[in-house]
Amino acid sequence: MFEFFNQPEIIKIVVIIGSMTLFFVGLFGLLTQKHLIKIFMSVAIMESGLFLLFIGLIYKQNALAPILTDNQQGFINMNDPVPQAMILTAIVIGMAVLALGVSFAIEYHKLTGKTDIDEITSLRN
């Protein structure tokens, strides 16, 4: 049974279905939840689903982490470093936007006492 999961294709399918389900969980939260914290949390979960998809599909089972250690001869047989660099950037940017959004929400709550996304409608006419 363990061998079945070790096949590269199966790993890829597991990664695709798993990360897309995580994305779906975030999307579901975004569509149904009302509290601002939950909304931001859903966005964060969607993002992490995407990151897992990317890193998981780049993963080669018998390749190494892209860092040269003492008993290696050169940069051969390694995982692709570019997605890792991109995801590193994307994680930091996502966190910055999240923190900014939370600070908006805190200030808005202080002024009006509302935290429900359905109540934030004073501008609509």
Partner: protein, 235 residues
């Protein structure tokens, strides 16, 4: 509790909408599982040796895709500025409960260790996993520990401003020096021999830039945590 209201139509329609979207996504993705094509990353790995940096991710982050990192720092800078603007108030008030003696002593003991670890992660970013972002955030978490345990503690604002300004300016200036010397922005104008690979002093400007990034990230994150924790109208 009204079950009928809780599982409302909006929940159901949200579920149906996202499920159908995901089925489409899965359909497309599972039918087109990317095969092993040669990617830019493999070419980068070949080039990587010439910069003399053991951690290939660091080379990509700092050197090949250096403009992304500059942009990322700008994002953090603006976000920290915005959070400071939103949560700023002249009369800062502190957490209500005073922490006990044990917590205070323990955090005083731990704080230097965390800072040291952060600096280690930052300085060895070109040799081992880690680097400026991670080290900077670890330092900020040390500051967070002090902020929680010592209610009178406050991040020295002027020092932080000085640090982040210094880091930001020197990042752009190093890039411009590279432009002047080597005719490419963020060009590696310091000596970077392949034989030095694995040493602390290797890789030319790459570790220096990562340390600068670390200083910048550390100071921004410290300000963000302080602004989030200390507010005038604390509940």
């Amino acid at each position: 509790m009204n079950l009928k209201r809780d599982i409302s139509t909006s929940t159901f329609s949200g579920f149906a909408l996202s499920a159908s979207l995901i089925l489409t996504f899965l359909n497309v993705l599972l039918n087109n599982i990317p095969t092993n094509i040669t990617r830019v990353g493999d070419q980068f790995l070949k080039l990587n040796g010439s910069e003399g940096v053991a951690n290939a991710v660091t080379t990509v982050v700092v050197y090949f895709r250096g403009f992304d990192t500059l942009g990322e720092i700008a994002v953090l800078f603006i976000a920290s500025l915005g959070i400071g603007l939103m949560l700023d108030s002249n009369t800062r008030c502190n957490l209500k409960a005073d922490s006990n003696f044990m917590l205070k002593t323990a955090s005083q003991l731990l704080f230097p260790i965390i800072i040291l670890f952060g600096i280690y992660v930052m300085v060895y970013g070109h040799l081992s996993p880690g680097g400026g972002f991670q080290g900077g955030v670890i330092i900020a978490s040390g500051v967070l520990l002090l902020l929680i345990s010592h209610k009178e503690f406050e991040v020295p604002h002027s020092v932080i401003t000085l640090l982040e300004t210094f880091a930001g300016i020197s990042y752009v200036l190093i890039g411009l020096i590279g432009l002047v010397v080597l005719d490419k922005f963020l060009g590696n104008f310091l000596p970077h021999n392949i034989s030095d690979m694995g040493m602390l002093l290797s890789g030319g400007i790459i570790p220096i830039i990562y340390i600068i990034v670390g200083i910048k990230v550390g100071s921004e994150m410290s300000m963000i945590t302080q602004n989030l924790i200390k507010r005038s109208d604390d509940v």
